[in-house]
Symmetry: C2
Subunit: 738 residues, 2 copies
């Protein structure tokens, strides 16, 4: 995946708590009823569905997962390289053997491979810095020299000698802080640490501030010894491990930067690289902390501001002074083929309605965790569903499995595929279920579109956490409760003060930002998506140590968590493909928007604290937005009641669930608007990555981003398109089943 999950967590957590249902607070009890109910199924169909799911869940095995992993991680598999091609063919053959119609779809994309890289500390005393890992005894793969050394996807070539300035995480606020300290980064080499924001935006921010080059290192405070024992003893990043990765300006638009908004095809229209947006003009390179330490310990200048000190045993200074670096990198750019592998089981009743599951297959080195922990789950899910199909069953709707290529460079495979299939997806896609890194630890996490919350949490009630008797749902909820109960109490207190009803503590999915292959589905096409994983400290991330030994011995020995996520992924897919009424519950979406508007109101109030000039205050009338969200909530509840009643033996007014399902499919699409300011490819009015975070979400992005930016002009115009989208969605729901 494009980013380490645990950096997303802290932001997501803030947004994850407290959505409501009209039941009284019962914080210690789960909301999953003891007699399973499955939204969208008749009571009589629940038993057979659970039997089918049990049969499916019985198929995947630890042995089989492990065998897939050993094969997939035998060689490095950067997008478009022979190792990647070999894996594409392995995946294709597995899909076919498991009973799926499958094919490889080649996509020509513009991307770089590293030709050479050299980084030298020239002052205060000359020393070459390492641009490759050393390898660790007992892990033979880590010594393989086929892997690319230190480089960034979409990096510029260059030759720069300059003093160094340390810029913390290199985000917009960090560069502002440097300016306040009187530190001029123009012409300097910016040394930034990984974390907090997408790495491409670190380069973008430095470039816009006039820096000559960027060096990004992994600080031990973020994913090294300060967090856990380093590999091989534990999962944390070793001193020599280098985080490769893309430096595309992801939040401004993913996919092949030379085909923005349209599919990359052989001989098709393509921008000149110099016209392409979102590719850095200044060179950059990643390094390990053992090398960064040599630079940081030589740095002079002011003491770093509060929060900038990392985990190395030295006092961090911002520079410039004493340390000077010489960076030479040469990139080999070309249009090269990459390979999506697409498999399908045709639905028996509505084959045009697609439930799409996807995971990427390209890696920066071996990709044992990223992405092959997901690939092996995908393959075992394919085998499990294939077993049902071989037994004579077919789902009501079609299921697609996608093994994406080029995700690491900037979601290339999935974005180009979505752009190429925009029409079918827009018309009929039910949902997209993404798994990137399936397992990097033991904490279940989900980001997604809120309409999919119920189908997810119900399925989680059926999947047991390894080593316990508790369901994934219960463990997930109990942890969130222990971390979030004070915030929940505070919010209810505030509701009481405002004269609003209290809300029970309820789990919800966290909104989606970006950083994996759901992006084009949700943000560009309005297909509702989920992104599932078991998280943990992923210290091998994008390094040579992301290999078989690391996953097999350190992360998930026994593969129990892999079996868990395979089970969950399959159940959600099956329910979406089989439900009589689609389990897309837009009441969850409506409640999310209402809560988010409350939060935005408070952020505006915070931003205006002490601003006395009225014309300088952030002004937006949230009342029409609240009314539109309440209208959506109301329409969704009405449809949900009608559907539940019909499934309990009542009748559809229109004769069947067809119109309701069609409306539910259209509803997420109705939430698309004219495109966000300055990045029109992003069209969803509820979900987007922050323009300056790259992965962390900024919900109601038109409004939320304007508040972050304190942009009064954009803010003033941001209400109407959101109201329009919400009303459009409400009207779709209203049409259904009347």
């Amino acid at each position: 995946m494009l980013l380490p999950r645990d950096t997303v967590r802290s932001l997501a957590l803030v947004l994850l708590v407290v959505l409501s249902a009209p039941s009284p607070a019962a914080p210690q009890a789960g909301t999953v009823p003891s007699a399973p109910k499955i939204t969208g199924f008749r009571a009589a169909d629940v038993g057979p569905e659970l039997e089918r799911e049990a049969a499916m869940a019985a198929v995947p095995s630890a042995d089989s997962l492990r065998r897939h992993l050993r094969i997939l991680t035998e060689s490095p598999s950067v997008a478009g390289t022979p190792g990647d091609r070999a894996n594409a063919e392995y995946v294709l053959r597995r899909f076919e053997a498991y009973g799926w119609q499958a094919r490889i779809e080649e996509v020509p994309v513009y991307l770089n491979y590293p030709k050479s890289a050299r980084l030298e500390l020239v002052e205060p005393s000359p020393e070459f810095l390492e641009t490759r890992e050393r390898g660790i005894a007992g892990d033979k793969d880590s010594f393989d020299s086929d892997a690319f050394g230190a480089f960034h996807g979409y990096a510029a070539s260059g030759d720069v000698t300059a003093p160094v300035v340390y810029a913390n995480y290199g985000d917009v606020d960090d560069l502002k802080k440097l300016a306040e300290l009187g530190i001029d980064v123009r012409g300097k080499i910016v040394l930034a640490r990984y974390g907090k924001i997408f790495r491409g935006l670190k380069v973008r921010n430095a470039e816009r501030a006039g820096a000559a080059a960027v060096v990004i290192y992994s600080d031990p405070a973020d994913d090294g010894f300060a967090k856990a024992d380093a590999y091989p003893r534990g999962p944390a990043r070793p001193s020599d491990a280098i985080q490769r990765g893309s430096v595309q300006f992801l939040s401004e638009g993913p996919g092949d930067p030379t085909t923005p908004g349209w599919p990359s095809r052989a001989g098709g229209k393509r921008l000149k690289p110099t016209e392409a947006r979102g590719i850095p003009r200044i060179p950059s390179i990643p390094i390990a902390w053992a090398e960064a330490e040599k630079v940081l310990s030589a740095l002079d200048g002011p003491l770093v501001p509060s929060g900038w000190q990392g985990g190395l045993p030295l006092t961090y200074h911002v520079g410039p002074g004493a340390a000077k670096l010489h960076l030479v990198t040469e990139q080999d750019y070309a249009v090269r083929p990459i390979w999506n592998v697409i498999a399908m089981i045709q639905g028996r009743e509505a084959p045009g309605q697609w439930v799409v599951c996807g995971n990427h297959r390209d890696a920066w080195t071996y990709g044992a965790i990223d992405p092959h922990s997901g690939t092996i789950a995908l393959l075992e899910m394919a085998r499990a569903i294939g077993t049902l199909v071989k037994g004579g069953w077919r789902p009501r709707r079609s299921i697609l499995l996608c093994s994406w290529d080029g995700e690491e460079y900037g979601l290339l495979g999935s974005t180009e595929w979505c752009e190429g299939h925009a029409q079918e997806l827009t018309a009929n896609a039910v949902a997209y279920l993404n798994v990137d890194v399936a397992v990097a630890g033991k904490d279940f996490r989900v980001n997604g579109c809120h309409a999919l919350r119920d189908v997810l949490t119900e399925a989680m009630g059926e999947v047991t956490v390894p080593g316990t008797n508790a369901s994934t749902f219960k463990v997930w909820r109990d942890k969130a409760w222990s971390e979030g109960k004070n915030e929940w109490a505070r919010q209810n207190r505030e509701r009481r003060w405002r004269g609003e009803p209290e809300q029970p503590f309820e789990m919800n999915v966290a909104p989606l930002g970006s950083g994996s292959d759901y992006t084009a589905f949700v943000d560009h096409l309005g297909v509702p998506a989920l992104d599932l994983r078991f998280e943990g400290l992923q210290g091998s991330y994008h390094s040579i140590y992301d290999d078989f030994e690391y996953l097999d011995r350190v992360v998930d020995p026994g593969y129990a968590y892999h079996l868990g996520i395979t089970d969950l992924w399959g159940r959600v897919a099956l329910r979406l493909a089989e439900a009589e009424v689609l389990p897309l519950r837009y009441s969850n979406t409506g409640r999310f928007v209402l809560d988010e508007l409350q939060s935005i109101e408070e952020r505006i109030d915070d931003a205006d604290a002490g601003v006395e000039t009225d014309s300088l205050r952030l002004r937006v009338d949230l009342a029409p937005l609240r009314a539109a969200a309440a209208h959506l909530l109301d329409r969704a509840r009405a449809l949900e009641s009608r559907a539940d009643a019909a499934l309990q033996g009542g009748a559809w007014q229109g004769g069947g669930p067809g119109p309701a399902n069609a409306a539910l499919i259209r509803t997420e699409r109705a939430l698309l608007g004219p495109g966000l300011p300055g990045r029109e490819w992003f069209r969803h009015e509820l979900y987007a990555p922050g323009l300056n975070t790259g992965y962390a979400p900024v919900p109601l992005p038109r409004l939320g981003q304007a508040v972050l930016d304190k942009d009064r002009r954009v803010l003033a115009q941001s209400g109407a398109p959101i109201v329009q989208a919400l009303e459009h969605a409400a009207s779709e729901l209203e049409k259904a089943g009347r």
Copy 2:
């Protein structure tokens, strides 16, 4: 001082923001009017007072401060040692030379000196750990071997060999966490890091959990290289610097532990040491981080919980396992003389009314910062006020200057003096103004009783921050505003939701906890106090490096901040001694209590989050408390209006300000109650140190501590004594000037 100030700051900040005045919000403007007003003075008297203050402020000089410091820090000056005696005589002679009546008051107290100390890592590989600093080239004092090595005041002797368990800060929650992890500390040596709570409570907590001994070290994350450059380059703690200090159970009662609640006198009543409460029974010793690193890097067992990782370049584990220590310490206990030096200028009109200024004089080593940055300010203030007196002026009331001894062991000198002068102080003390460490950096901080807020902030308006044209008040306020404006905005939002009026952003003093010599004045006798300082990272704290070179070159070269605090301290003392109506404004106290009750209500609500059994919820009716606080506020405002009117030319109904001043003096005393549960020596119903923090305040301690402890029984009984105290104070104010 007993504790490093910057650990207090984080807690104090939370409590410092947003008290109110009935004016509209004007966040960028100061509240000090451009034409100075001095509360308690007639308009005609303001000019002469300011001239007098200017004359006083012109006296102190950097040269003189520096000379005092060089003399006071020539030798180590632990309480009762020859170096301490020599300093007492120096201070006495200075006071006398400056025109004060002065004397040394000897107090016999029970305390320990170290006889021997040995600490050995016996497993995994034997190695003696250092119990002395090495010294740093260029700082000759740091090589002096007269100083005591590693030891703790009131430590037990002992000989223990045991495996090690790392316990983070060693607070109550940390030990609970260890138990949850299944780690048994019984019979083990607990290794805790300094910080967060008073060190004596670390030993108390470990002892109560069954530990055999305690080793406390200074982690670089807390005051070492992770915070700033280490000495000699900067102010942070070097690798070998040892924090000595007392391990008395301070929050249960300070002073000589063998004379709890009564003065220590030669031949007087005294408990046997074995009967004395508040002295550890298990041995303990402090070490430097370079030594602790050898232990921590050998520790096995589970990974530490979140937040326990320190700043050393290793992954922290809790143990036990691998590391085993052997500790042998021998303490030499005896009743020994210590020496308070007390100086006085008799007041011209009300000599029985005392304005008391104090600072301690004993140190753990040289005490350049702690306490002599305060001692040199005290001496220069004495010289400055003495100059006015030599010019023929005398203050309306008496001014006392106190150079306390034995503060470091547990506030011995000041506590025994207060216990011995309880009657005079109760009857007539106006206020106590404490300066312990005067200058350890550039951030002005104050803790105090809220009645003294106005006299302080008005005086701050007259004192310029070194190197700027801005007043101390403005700089203090601007920093608090930039850190606290979002919290202020949130609180006002909540007030709006509750239908209460918004409040402007106003500075207030943070409430007092403990850790310096104001404790007996406030908590035992109800004398209102302030504790003033310029704060900063104090990495030499209680080590051999707290010497002349450290202050003179690193902390305040030029002594400008020392001049600033001397000026401020003197102005506040002069105004209290000279004001026609005492500037004790209990409206500030009333508002503080109302805000604190709001905060307590919210903490109760948090604590009850998810508690469904009604009998398990924390129950207390805050309405009578709110009514009593509102009543106090109302009575105070009425008296303040009457006083202001009388000073503007009106007349006192009783003929003069005498009854008002007498009532104002009685008001803080009226806030004393029957003593806090389990620690009856602490009698103030508004202010006390937390029972488990030792220094950080827990306001409305009877109530606040019960909420922290979730003690429903104590909570149920906590309202009535507070109501009674508030009503008593209100009635005192009501009597005044009717």
